[in-house]
């Protein structure tokens, strides 16, 4: 009985202590990762699996020549990070991001999206 109680308590403790923190993975993005869109987006929005620390999270968007096309500062709210972009002519754009989740784990990544036919 004591063993069962101990096991249940341990499991409960693990469950409670693991409900909120982990590495922040990119869940999805707008524009979607690897997508092609006819209409140029006015911003890039990234949705993560965990809440972010704004001071240590950043994003940049660049064109095929490596020139930055983002404008303004990233706006971070809970698990979402967004940044405005300049008017985008047809072409392929790369989004690079690096974030710190609220439990101090850093993750990073990059992807492209295409504007135009």
């Amino acid at each position: 009985m004591r063993i069962h109680t101990l096991a249940a308590t341990t499991l409960l403790t693990l469950t409670i202590s693991t409900t909120a923190w982990a590495h922040a993975f990119l869940d999805h993005a707008e524009p979607r990762v690897g997508s092609s869109t006819q209409t140029a987006p006015k911003e890039v929005v990234l949705f993560y699996s965990q809440n972010l620390e704004p001071a240590f999270s950043t994003i940049e968007v660049s064109d095929a020549n490596g020139a930055r096309v983002d404008q303004g500062k990233p706006k971070i709210s809970a698990s979402t990070m967004r940044i405005g972009v300049k008017p985008l002519p047809p072409g392929t754009y790369r989004v690079r991001w690096q974030v710190l989740s609220v439990d101090t784990h850093t993750t990073e990544g990059s992807f492209t999206f295409h504007v135009g036919p």
Binding site: L14, S17, T18, W21, A22, H23, F25, L26, H28, A29, R32, V33, G34, S35, S49, Q50, F56, S57, T58, E60, R96, Q98, L100, D103, T104, H105, T106, T107, E108, G109, S110, F111, T112
Partner: protein, 318 residues
């Protein structure tokens, strides 16, 4: 704002930055996450635990016996780049005539040092020393030896995300592997009257990361369960190379196709175990593992290195 308050805030910010671990524990290399594979090790020091690893197979005996293995591993970072793993296994073998023998293998410790993590090229290299301590298991029932085994080992992992974009979905592939040279502390087993060979112990995995495909290459809008899968093929092999007088230099091992489901706090892996030859076993076995990411479960306590776990936050630059 008073000067005292400014100083306090500055100190708090500095403290926060200092106490924010870089924390790539479990195996992140740049955008690549390399999961803990089941029969080979991933190329990173980490705070993690496998509890349990369960394997069932049939031995190479004629007629074959059924073998059940239960394993436990606990890995702890001592510093940011140096970690120790303790492992213990228990086995049960039931012969065809119903005879049952059970016991613990020798206690094992693995000391590992992270040599390289190249984020841009998704490359990780790790050095290790595996020590299987003699006379710490069930030597009487044959599941453990009364001599130790020392195995200097090199581990590597490489993701292919740095290939040109034209490679498309192929960039989600990664390989990991390890090569070790196993040296017994005794050269001759007087109880069985045989030489104890030195062996090359090596293995590799080829894996395809659906999480990487979704977040780095193309989001296909697949079901969430699929997006957490990493199909994998592993191989673990052993070849006697020295002090093997009178015995064949036969390579033994298994090739394991399977899949690993990766969550935020744990992963679950399941693989078939296919012997590469008659000396490696009979028929297809199976191995499963529940693996816990302690750095995510307990990020401020158990998931931190014992020393120097407070490395300053890496400046966020691309």
């Amino acid at each position: 704002m008073s000067r005292h308050l400014l100083h306090t805030l500055a100190l708090a910010g500095l403290t926060s930055a200092i106490f924010t671990s870089d924390a790539f524990a479990h195996c992140f290399v740049g955008a690549r996450f390399l999961p803990a594979t089941l029969i080979t090790d991933d190329p990173c020091v980490a705070d993690e635990m496998s509890l349990p690893t369960v394997a069932w197979s049939k031995t190479a005996d004629v007629p074959p016996a059924s073998q059940l293995n239960l394993g436990f591993d606990f890995s702890k970072r001592i510093t940011e780049n140096f970690g120790v793993t303790v492992s213990q296994g228990w086995s049960s073998i039931r012969q065809a005539d119903g005879t049952l023998s059970q016991g613990f293998g020798n206690f094992e410790t693995t000391f590992q040092y992270q040599i390289l993590k190249d984020r841009e090229h998704e490359l990780a290299i790790l050095s290790g020393l595996i020590v299987d301590w003699g006379h710490t298991g069930s030597t009487g029932s044959g599941f453990a030896t009364d001599f130790s085994l020392v195995t200097p080992t090199v581990y590597f992992g490489k993701g292919f995300g740095d290939l040109p974009s034209s490679f498309g979905g192929l960039r989600a592939f990664a390989v990991t592997g390890q090569v070790g040279y196993q040296i017994p502390t005794n050269s001759f087993d007087f109880t069985q009257n045989v030489f104890i060979p030195q062996q090359l112990v090596y293995g590799a995995s080829l894996q395809y990361s659906m999480p990487y495909l979704k977040s780095e290459i193309v989001d296909l809008g697949l079901p969430e369960f699929i997006n957490h899968l990493i199909p994998v093929v592993e191989a673990s092999l052993t070849t006697p190379v020295a002090n093997n007088f009178g015995n064949p230099y036969t390579t033994t091992g298994t090739v394991n196709p399977g899949v690993i489901w990766v969550g935020s706090y744990f992963q679950v892996g399941l693989e078939a175990m296919i012997p590469i030859n008659r000396q490696s076993g009979t028929g297809v076995g199976v191995i499963g593992q529940l693996h816990l990411y302690l750095d995510d479960m307990f990020p401020s306590t158990l998931g931190q290195p014992l020393f120097g776990g407070t490395s300053s936050t890496r400046k966020l630059t691309f």
